[in-house]
C-alpha cells in the first residue's frame, strides 16, 4: 500500500509550515472571526499534511486491476476527503457562533469568565469565597457570641432564666441552627 518513492515535495511541506504558522498566530487573537480564520488555515494545513503523507503526486488514481501501474495511495485521499468535510462543517458552526455573538453583544470577542475573575479578586483581598454564618466576623468575642446564642436558645424554649455569663458554650453548629 505504501508508495515506495515517498519523498514529499518540498513546496507542499513548506506550505504546511506556513499555513500552521499563520494559523496559530490568528488562533491567538481575541476576535472569533480571526480565530475562525486561524482554524481554517491550521485545519487546511493538517489536511495538506495528510495528503503529503500519502506519497508523491503523479501516480495514477486507483482504477483498474493492472498491478504494474504505480497507483497513488487511495487511503490518504479518502482520509483527506473526510477531514475536509469535518473542517467545512466546523467552520460553518463557528461562523454561526461568531454571528450570534455579534448579534447579542455587538462584537465577537471571546470574553473572560466573570465568575473566575470574581473568585480571583476575592483571593487577592484574602476574603472567604462564600458567606458562612459560623465563621462570620461579627466584631464580638467568642464569649459574647456564646452568651447571645445561649440567650437565643433560652428564649426559644420560653424559659425565664437569668443571664448566665461565660457558660463556655462553643458557638458552633448550634449558633447557625438557632439563628
Amino acid at each position: 500500500m505504501i508508495v515506495l518513492d515517498n519523498v514529499p515535495s518540498f513546496a507542499l511541506v513548506l506550505a504546511v509550515g506556513v499555513l500552521f504558522a499563520t494559523g496559530v498566530y490568528l488562533l491567538l487573537e481575541r476576535s472569533l472571526t480571526r480565530v475562525l480564520l486561524g482554524f481554517v488555515l491550521v485545519g487546511n494545513g493538517a489536511n495538506l499534511a495528510l495528503l503529503v503523507a500519502g506519497g508523491r503526486a503523479g501516480a495514477a488514481p486507483i482504477l483498474g486491476e493492472d498491478p504494474l501501474v504505480r497507483l497513488s495511495d487511495p487511503l490518504a485521499q479518502a482520509m483527506v476527503l473526510t477531514s475536509i468535510v469535518i473542517t467545512l462543517a466546523l467552520t460553518a458552526f463557528v461562523l454561526a457562533m461568531a454571528y450570534r455573538s455579534w448579534q447579542l453583544s455587538g462584537h465577537d470577542e471571546v470574553q473572560d469568565d466573570d465568575e473566575d475573575r470574581r473568585i480571583a479578586r476575592l483571593a487577592m483581598r484574602n476574603e472567604a469565597a462564600y458567606d458562612d454564618a459560623d465563621t462570620a466576623e461579627t466584631g464580638e468575642t467568642l464569649d459574647e457570641e456564646a452568651v447571645d446564642v445561649h440567650d437565643d436558645i433560652e428564649e426559644s424554649l420560653h424559659v425565664d432564666v437569668p443571664e448566665i455569663p461565660d457558660t463556655g458554650d462553643a458557638p458552633g453548629q448550634d449558633g447557625g441552627a438557632a439563628r
Binding site: G43, A46, A49, P67, S83, M97, D113, Y130
Partner: protein, 548 residues
Amino acid sequence: MTWSHATLLPLPVLVPLFAAGLTLALYRHPRAQRAISVAALGIVVATAGVLVLLADHGPMSVVIGGWDVPVGIALVADRLSALMLLISAIVLLCVLLYSMAQGIADGGDDVQVVGDGDRTTEVDGDADLAERRDVLPVAIFHPTFLVLSAGVANAFLAGDLFNLYVGFEILLAASYVLLTLGGTLDRIRAGSVYVVVALVSSVVFLMAVVLAYSATGTVNLAQLAERLPDVDPAVRLGIQLLLLLGFGIKAAIFPLSAWLPDSYPTAPAPVTAVFAGLLTKVGVYAIIRTQTLLFPASGAGNHRVDDVLMVLALLTMVIGILGAVAQDDIKRLLSFTLVSHIGFMIFGVALAGSVSTAAAIFYAIHHITVQTALFLVVGLVERRGGTTSLDKLGGLARVAPGLALLFFVPAMNLAGIPPLSGFLGKVALLQAGVSDGSGLAWVLVVGSVLTSLLTMYALIKAWNKAFWQVTPPEILSGEWGEKRIPAGMVAPTAALIGVGVALTLLAGPIFGYAQRAADTLTDGHSYQEAVWGTSAPEADAVAEAVAP
C-alpha cells in the same frame, strides 16, 4: 457477509445515527421523538450488555465496507471497549430520561414546535424563572443527543486511529451544539472558549494521525502496534506526545484543563451531566488505549513519558481540587472535582502495569456514574432551590430530605468513603502505586490521599451550605424554585445512583473484569490477533489489486 457475534458491533453506532435522522425528520412530533430516542438508546444498552459478555471470551472485530483489515474500517470490541460502552450507554439513557422529564415538566409536550425548537411556556407566569431555568428545545436536543451517543460509541469501538478521530469529531460537533443550546449570551461566551479549545485539540490529534501514517503507512491500531517499534524512537516519541497532547486537552489534564470549569457549568443540567460523565472519559479511554497498545511499557524511553504523566497527574489532582475548594457554586465546584479526579485515572495509566491499568479502568467507570449522578442531583437542587449558589441555598435537608439523600450518597462516593466504589477504586490505585515503589509513585500516593481529603472537604462544605443551616424563606415558600420536583427527573437520578451503589456491591466481579481487560491490553497480542483474524475473503482480491 456471514452473521456472527461481531455483527452486533456496528449497532451502537448505527442505531443512534439512524434514530437521530428519524427524530430530526419528526421534529414536529415530540412524543414520537421521545419514543424513538429511548428505544434507540435502549437498544444500545442491550447491545453493549451482550458485547460485555461476549468480549469476555476474547476481543471481537468486524470490518466495515468489505475492505480487508489494514485498509478497511475496523470496529473492535475488547473488554475495555465493551465495558466503557455499557456504562456510557446506561448513563446516556438515564440522562435522556431525565431531560425528557424536565422537558415535559417545563411544558414541552403541549407546545407545538415553532421555528427552530419549542421554547417552554412560562410555568409560573414568571418570565424571570422561565429564563433562569434550563430550557431544552426538544426538536434539536434529541437528534443532537443521539449523534453524541453515536460519536461516543464510535470512539470506544474504533479499531483505527482515523476512525477514532472521526468518532471524536462526531461527539465534539454534537457537544458544540448542546453546549450553546438556545444561543444565550452566557452559553455563547462559554461555548466559544470550549469550541476553540476543542478545535485546536482536534487539529493536534489529526496531525498525530498524519505523522503516524507517514511513518508507518497505516492507521489501523493493530498494524500500528506492530510497525511502531521499528520506527525511529524520536519520531515515535513525537507521535506519542502529539497523541497525548490531543487527548490531554479532551481529558482535561492539568495544564490543558482550564477550559473545563469555565464552559461546563453554563450548559443545561442534563447536558453538563453527560459532558462531565462521558466526554473527558472518552479522552481517558483514548489515552489508555494508545498508551497500552501502541506505546507499551516495555518500549524504549516510555518510562520517561510515564514519569511526565505522573507529574501531570499529581498537578491535575491537587490544583483541580484546590480550585474546587475555592468555589461557591455547586456546578463549578463539581467541575473542578471532575478535573481533579481525572488525575487519578492518569496516575493509573502512568504506572503502566496490568494492576494499575485495571484500577484506572475501574476508577473511570466509577467516576462516569458518580459524576453524572452528582450533576443530575445538582439539576434537581437548582429546581428546588432556584439556584446553585452556595450562598443562597440552605436548609434543603429539612425541606427536601429525599433530595439530600440523593446528594449525600454520590457525594460520599466521590470523596471515597469506605464501603463505596470510590473508596475501592482509590485503594486499588494506591496499592498499585505502593507496589510500584518508586519515589515518584509514593509522592503520587500521598497526593491522592490529600486530594481525597480535600474532595471530602469541598463536598462537605457544599453539603453544609446547601443542605444544613437556615432555610431561606424563599426556598421554604417555593418562591425561588418549585416545591415538587417531577418524579420523572428523580427516577433516572436515583437509578444512576443505584448503578453507583451496584458498582460497590458487584465490585469483585467488575474489578475482575477490569483486571482481565487490563491483561488483554498489556499482553501485546490478543488485540492484534483479533483484528487480523477478521478477513473478509472476497476483499482479498481487491486489496491485492490495490497494492502496488
